[in-house]
């Protein structure tokens, strides 16, 4: 095992991407993710890769579209307002079935918002974000180690399913340092016979395209894409379950909210409250099965979020609203304290217990 080093989450993403074989990065400066660009600017020229500071977020995602068309691993990163700008490109990547990795180190919104950590782009990320019917694979790291490992995983899934993988992090994950082991190797990339790398005069031309003027044809592609999404939902959903075996209350939280919630769960356990945590690692596909199973056992759910309550809708859907789902949240760049989560757990235990 490689030696553990202290790294910022943003740097861990950048280094993991390079280890995963990504040699092309395009980005635009925005807090709190600029370390990724800075890291790439330093490293890429030394390994024959491309770092290019684009003129805009829009240009950056379209440069990604260009490299992705050639089948090479490519990424960009940004933070919330920048992701809104990139949404056009995200939709085109989906429409053209191109693999790419996009990082969103979220900050509070809406509008220019703030620069402190947030999870309020959950809807945008899990529902696609741009126009049209599509999804991205959305990975939600909760440690610097996961910032690295999920980046590698993100590239693999993107290639496997010909779609965008998004790392949905937040300012805390991006800025914090933790020990990380960068024990990755560039995984075998899949064959990409569709790539536009020149016909070499040996095959018909490839076309990377999302325009289909015949509605029946466009419908067919949408249906096919959703067949693929269904397979992904069945096979790629990931979550971590913590103290769920005998839990009567289930906390749902991802990313930094899950870290805070773990402290609260530990405290509540000391008080004798049977509480556990389900931490989605993929937020799309959402780990529905784990929640559906929990819904038959627990008395109540608490969704802990750095937003006005977005993931809570997925918790309700996954559990068919069988049990009450409470919201414990802060917004605008504020982070719930473990005490706040603990108070919610106690409250839920009382209400749930009365059922």
């Amino acid at each position: 095992m490689a030696e553990k080093v202290l790294m910022k989450g943003n740097e861990a993403i950048a280094e993991a991407a390079i280890l995963a074989g990504c040699r092309h990065y395009f980005g635009y400066p925005i807090t709190p993710q600029t370390e990724i660009a800075a890291y790439m600017a330093k490293k890429m020229p030394k390994i024959g890769g491309t770092f290019l500071q684009a003129e805009s977020e829009v240009a950056a995602i379209n440069m990604v579209y260009g490299v992705a068309s050639t089948g090479m691993r490519v990424m960009t990163s940004s933070s919330s307002p920048g992701i809104s700008l990139k949404s056009e490109g995200l939709s085109y990547l989906a429409g053209a079935d191109l693999p790419a990795l996009v990082v969103n180190v979220q900050r509070g919104g809406p509008g220019l918002g703030g620069i402190q950590p947030s999870q309020s782009d959950y809807f945008q990320a899990t529902r696609g974000g741009g126009h049209g019917d599509y999804h991205m694979i959305v990975l939600a790291p909760a440690s610097v180690q996961e910032m690295a490992s999920l980046t590698v995983k993100g590239f693999e899934l993107a290639d496997k399913y010909r779609m965008t993988s998004m790392i949905l992090a937040d300012g805390t994950m991006g800025q914090m340092m933790e020990p990380v082991s960068l024990d990755f190797e560039a995984s075998q990339t899949v064959e990409k016979p569709w790539a536009t790398t020149g016909t070499k005069m040996s095959r018909p031309h490839n076309i990377v395209n999302s325009l289909f003027l015949q509605p029946d044809e466009l419908e067919k592609y949408n249906f096919e894409r959703y067949e693929r999404y269904k397979r992904i939902e069945e096979t790629e959903a990931m979550c971590e379950e913590y103290m769920m075996d005998d839990a009567e209350i289930c906390v749902a939280a991802f990313g930094i909210a899950a870290r805070v919630s773990k402290n609260a769960v530990d405290e509540a356990r000391k008080m004798g409250i049977k509480v556990g945590l389900i931490r989605p690692i993929t937020v799309w596909p959402f780990p529905k099965a784990a929640f559906a199973k929990a819904a038959d056992k627990v008395k109540a759910f608490i969704s802990v979020e750095l937003s006005m309550g977005q993931m809570i809708e997925d918790v309700k859907l996954a559990t068919s609203c069988k049990k009450p789902v409470f919201l414990c949240n802060r917004a605008g760049g504020m982070i719930p304290a473990p005490e706040q989560v603990l108070a919610s757990i106690k409250e839920a235990a009382e209400i749930g217990g009365a059922n």
Binding site: E55, V58, G66, A68, T70, Y92, T197, G198, M201, N209
Partner: protein, 252 residues
């Protein structure tokens, strides 16, 4: 004996362009140049949003359809993916290149991105049915300037070659037209130079082609070709606006 044939770099797909439209001529010129330079197998074209949106069906090389205005950014990605082995061109109209995609155009030029841009300037939005373009002339009647383009209210047309020539970045900028045989020959020469520059690693070359849109101009094809002489060329003079290599050779 074959006296006239379609270039290899064009497919057999029937083009959708209106009668009298000059897109077909420019497509052919680009394809002839690709044939003559023997680069079809390594060429990747980027189509715009606009009338030439389906250019990906017409060119036989690998093709990518870009979002509106983003072709220079997409081309940047394709080129940088494999600079040694990719010849990359974009084919864009005036709305795509000079309005919604102006930032991408200017910055690709400023970076001297080693790509070739074929820029069709027909002073109108064609595909959406004839709206005012960034290059519509003062007084020009369009669907969205029904009383003629009022420069007080909506500003002046943009002369792309002149504007980009102020940048240190670009290698080559030339404005041509295709409204008669002589001009078509010159246009082909310019397009060939723009591709050759890329092969030679010289950098960003943009060829602006003054083109006609008889349908949306409300003219016969012949009158439209004359309108280029009468109205467009006076505002958009033909010629080379930048040729860095020639300039450097002269300065030596």
């Amino acid at each position: 004996m074959v006296v006239f044939d379609k270039p290899h770099a064009l497919t057999d797909a029937p083009m959708h362009y209106c009668p009298g439209c000059t897109h077909g001529i420019v497509h052919r010129l680009v394809a002839e140049v690709i044939d003559e330079l023997g680069i079809e197998g390594k060429t990747i074209g980027v189509a715009p949003v606009g009338c030439s949106v389906m250019a990906y069906n017409y060119f036989a090389c690998d093709m990518i359809e870009a979002a509106h205005g983003r072709a220079p950014a997409v081309a940047t990605g394709v080129k940088r993916a494999d600079p040694e082995n990719h010849i990359v061109f974009t084919y864009q109209g005036d709305g795509d290149l000079a309005s919604i995609g102006m930032a991408e155009t200017v910055h690709a030029a400023a970076r001297n991105e080693n790509i070739t841009i074929i820029f069709i300037n027909n002073a109108i939005y064609g595909m959406t049915g004839g709206q005012m373009a960034p290059t519509s002339l003062p007084g020009q009647v369009t669907q969205t300037s029904p009383y003629g383009r009022d420069v007080k209210q909506c500003g002046f047309p943009i002369r792309v070659c002149e504007m980009l020539s102020e940048l240190d970045g670009p290698e080559y900028l030339e404005r041509v037209t295709v409204n008669n045989v002589k001009n078509i020959r010159q246009a082909k020469k310019a397009i060939k130079k723009a591709f050759q520059n890329q092969i030679d690693g010289k950098g960003f070359s943009l060829i602006e082609v003054l083109s006609s849109c008889p349908t949306n101009w409300g003219m016969t094809p012949k009158a439209a070709l004359e309108w280029i002489d009468e109205r467009m060329i006076p505002y958009y003079p033909l010629g080379v606006y930048k040729d860095r290599s020639a300039q450097e050779a002269q300065d030596k």
